[in-house]
């Protein structure tokens, strides 16, 4: 259940917050680093400011490789409404400074926000959980993402498992179908499992518990040496075409009727329902709140332009692409502009393009764009997919009549979002 509200700050923290607000406000007006600078300054002045800002709030932390931003937004929506305010880092700033900044904002906007829903970068879950004493920790999935930057995915998942074990009071809501995610979730005494057919098993060959070989049969998986197997779902997403129903404990069934497209969003919504209901929200109310969500930080947003529309999609790793390919399969064969960069935030290595089954785009007219359009083009050629090259992905969409999808990895997506705003 949701607890009372934030506790009053001690003098040192109040001073830190006041200065941080001044700096953060100035930075935001200047359009620079507004989503993290306040938190950075406040933390410099008071190292425990994140813990003090979180004290007394019901904190939900959301981590995993893909879907953090969308699921965080969905959970915040489910827990909000009815006049209750929710603090959340909806700008996607998911490291400690960004989370601190989001709590500072909540303090200035509405002192009383009793609930904080924060997405957390996998590598910082230990720091953030230690400071915020979360009521709920959501583990979405773990797959390879920028291996050259964040370390091997198994190491990441193991560290998350250690955080789970270190916070026995937190309710852990985890994805049963993902081997590494289940391995981390099992470190909790009584995890809540969300389940649905999983589409990406590329990082699921080795057991997270004993390093044995994991074999897959349909959506079931099991370790051939220690017997670790897929837990049964407490909350199961069942899909028929593009409609989804979430089946919960005691035979409950909640129909989803989302505006956000695709399997991945129906799964994210199943997580949001499970968390909401765990925290006392009525299922029908939760589902109605999810229905209203149209876009998340520009993802899935459709922009109207002369001659047509452009829908913006983010896919920054093979698992994310598996979800986007599903989504593209659901619709007509619209033209797709794919933009790939390899800047710091993207990871410098683009070999992950070879783990994406681009063959599935054969029926779509295709444009390769972004800083690494050349490498993408080589990949598409070997996949047997005809395409053309473009320097500027947004300009390429403007060249096309009708409805176009623009899929970008991290910085390519954000560049396109900015250009289209």
């Amino acid at each position: 259940m949701i607890s009372g509200g934030p506790t009053r700050l001690p003098p040192r923290a109040r001073a830190a917050v006041a200065v941080a607000r001044l700096v953060g406000g100035a930075a935001r007006r200047a359009g620079r680093h507004g989503s993290v600078i306040g938190g950075r300054v406040a933390t410099m002045l008071d190292r425990r400011v994140l813990a003090r800002l979180a004290a007394g709030r019901t904190v939900v932390l959301v981590t995993g490789t893909n879907g953090k931003t969308t699921t965080t937004s969905m959970i915040a929506r489910v827990l909000g409404g009815a006049g209750r305010r929710v603090a959340t880092n909806h700008l996607g700033a998911n490291m400690p400074d960004g989370i601190t900044t989001a709590l500072l904002d909540a303090l200035s906007n509405h002192e009383g926000a009793p609930v904080a829903v924060m997405e957390v970068d996998e590598s910082y879950l230990d720091v953030v959980a230690a400071a915020t004493d979360p009521a709920v920790v959501v583990l979405l999935n773990f797959s390879r993402d920028q291996l050259d930057r964040v370390g091997e995915v198994r190491t990441v998942a193991r560290r998350v498992g250690e955080v789970v074990a270190a916070h026995p009071r937190a309710r852990v809501v985890a994805f049963a179908d993902d081997v590494l995610c289940a391995g981390a979730g099992l470190r909790a005494a009584d995890p809540v499992w969300v389940s649905s057919p999983s589409l990406w098993t590329g990082d699921a060959g080795v057991c997270p518990r004993c390093d044995g070989a994991v074999t897959h049969a349909g959506v079931r998986w099991a370790c051939s040496s220690c017997g670790l197997a897929r837990p049964d779902g407490d909350w199961t997403l069942v899909e028929q075409d593009t409609a989804g129903t979430v089946h919960g404990p005691g035979g409950s069934a909640t129909a989803l009727d989302l505006q956000l497209p695709g399997h991945a969003n129906r799964l994210n919504a199943a997580f949001a329902l499970a968390v909401g209901i765990e925290l006392g929200v009525d299922p029908a109310v939760a589902a109605a709140r999810l229905r209203d969500l149209e876009q998340v930080g520009g993802r899935y947003r459709t922009v109207t332009r002369p001659g047509g529309t452009t829908r913006l999609l983010l896919a920054k790793n093979p698992a994310g692409w598996a979800q986007v390919l599903d989504l593209l399969d659901e619709g007509p064969p619209r033209p797709v502009v794919v933009a790939v960069n390899s800047r710091e935030a993207d990871g410098r290595d683009v070999s992950w393009l070879w783990d994406v089954p681009f063959e599935r785009l054969a029926r779509h007219p295709l444009v390769a764009a972004g800083d690494r359009a050349g490498d993408l083009s080589v990949r598409l050629a070997y996949a047997g997919i005809g395409h053309r090259l473009a320097d500027d992905p947004v300009a390429a969409t403007r060249d096309t009549l009708g409805a176009v999808d623009l899929v970008g990895n991290y910085t390519a997506f954000h560049d396109a979002t900015r250009a289209l705003t």
């Binding site: 291996l147 080795v206 992950w352 070879w354 783990d355 050349g374 395409h387 090259l389």
Partner: protein, 260 residues
């Protein structure tokens, strides 16, 4: 179907980081573009390794996956007989170490490899070597430089029956950095039989068509000219045909970080 040239892709579930399975797709496509029927035969965890494949491909993997792969392949009659007859084989990163005589993992355990390539790998202790590299080949049949993305921490010593594949450029990265980690900028290893082993990802054959064609020529003899399908942009066609990329496209950023 049995007349198809068969590219055998070994255990991509455990030896499949960095899109290394793409090396098999590249080989098959470059045969088909020459009018030679080809297919990729994927050997999954519970499948037997065929002895009569035309080219064998092993990719990279994380430590635990590498130990699993070594245990799984060490007693494979099919793979041993293919290697013994000198079947053309590409082994990348963990694949290189698995084909060697032995490798030592982080906890100090020494694990026997397949012994098909005269190399042994031990932990480097220092930071992982991460980044794009360019290397000049030291084997016959390759002219231009090789390029790829490396990310590994071990030190691989070559024995008398193995020769280095290439020597890295960019000595600015320090004497111990890059390649096999032996301080002489040597990269990869080749056997007197058919093994070409490297630390380069990318996948390496997608970034180095000449290396792909070297493996294919060893498998099927002289290669007919390559005809690309429609819908490939001209600059991409240039790369697929083996034309070098323009200099500014070659990134040689020497970024190294402490490994996980």
């Amino acid at each position: 179907m049995s007349d198809d040239v068969t590219i055998v892709l070994l255990l991509p579930e455990v030896l499949g980081t960095y899109g290394d399975a793409g090396n098999a797709s590249v080989l098959a496509a470059r045969l088909r573009w020459r009018g030679i029927p080809a297919r990729v035969h994927t050997v999954g965890w519970t499948d037997a390794v065929p002895a009569d494949g035309d080219v064998y491909v092993l990719g990279g993997g994380e430590d635990a996956a590498q130990v699993l792969a070594a245990d799984r392949l060490r007693d494979s009659i099919g793979l041993h007989s293919a290697l013994a007859r000198g079947a053309p084989t590409l082994a990348v990163c963990a694949g290189l170490q698995v084909l060697g005589t032995a490798f030592t993992i982080a906890d100090g355990t020494r694990i026997a490899g397949l012994g098909a390539l005269d190399v042994e790998t031990r932990p480097g202790g220092g930071p992982r070597r991460i980044g794009d590299v360019v290397a000049d080949p030291l084997v016959d049949g390759l002219d231009g430089p090789l390029e790829g993305f490396e990310n590994h921490g071990g030190i691989t010593e070559l024995g008398p029956d193995a020769a280095p594949l290439a020597r890295l450029r960019d000595p600015a990265r320090g004497p111990a950095a890059g390649g096999n980690g032996t301080g002489d900028r040597l990269e990869g290893a080749v056997s007197a039989g058919g093994i070409i082993a490297t630390y380069l990802h990318g996948p390496v054959l997608a970034r180095n068509p000449a290396l792909a064609d070297l493996l294919l020529a060893r498998a099927v003899g002289e290669l007919p000219p390559l005809t690309l399908p429609d819908g490939v942009p001209p600059t991409t066609a240039q790369r697929l045909l083996g034309g070098r990329r323009s200099r500014h496209e070659l990134r040689t950023g020497a970024r190294r970080r402490a490994g996980a």
